[in-house]
Chain length 61, copies 6
């Protein structure tokens, strides 16, 4: 607790995910007042052809 | 807002997802009374070996 | 299969959800080529103070 | 109903998922008092580089 | 890891959830070969008017 | 895009969620290189009796 699930377009590097995990865990612990050890983050890469906004696939825009 | 997350067996074509995004966004805007621009749809393809109903993997049935 | 999870601001009526379930199930069956009996839809009402876009809670905008 | 979504590190075999689906469906039906036919389980394999605990990617530990 | 998210109709007792957590954690650890300490389960109660199957809200059936 | 879903124990204040949305949106935009306008965050409050770790409900510990 807490659990953070991040859906994002595929293509981010492991370095970006590593920095994101470090920074967001620290901010989560600070603002929500929990131990950093209690924070889990799961990244879910989504293809542009699997994400639609305003009725259009992102791969079509 | 709203966010629509669709879990489905893998194998649908991009054409099907494109039509689905268009039609479901329009119906969502019409029925839930929101702007089409506010509708996000995320598709998540699931392998038949990752979905079980009634205790059996779909890949076994 | 498929499973459709809809996150939306609270305040929609049961009549809207009823129509939405009927229409979206029919379109899902038609476009994704599955039986209507196989379609599940779960609605998750979200408070405006629990949804942020562009860094602001919707309840603050 | 119920729907069970299991996020786990990739690498489990189909045999493990098959046994898991069978056993957890039976226990779900027994404890929550529903028909086994009503139980759906979806597995989501997660790469170690997509799961962070305590601010570190699991692939780094 | 693993994370188990259970969507179920509201109305189950805390005693049922307590037994479910105990039993499913033990089976998860046994079958997926992980430590019981690593297993998280989140229950999400869903109202019958928020779950549709085959195009009908469960509250209408 | 991206979408961030945060499951947390109930009891955090709106002020905490407001600060969290602001800070995490800014860090998301900075690290993942996207527009802040593209970031959505949904908070899901979970009761302690609906979250189990290591086989025990958090409300029992």
């Amino acid at each position: 607790m807490p659990l953070i699930h991040v859906s994002l377009f595929e293509g981010r590097s492991i370095e970006q995910k590593r920095e994101y995990a470090k920074v967001v865990t620290a901010e989560t612990a600070r603002i929500l007042k929990c131990a950093p050890e209690a924070v889990d983050i799961i990244f879910e890469d989504v293809k542009k052809s699997d994400w639609a906004s305003a009725g259009k696939l992102a791969s079509d825009t």
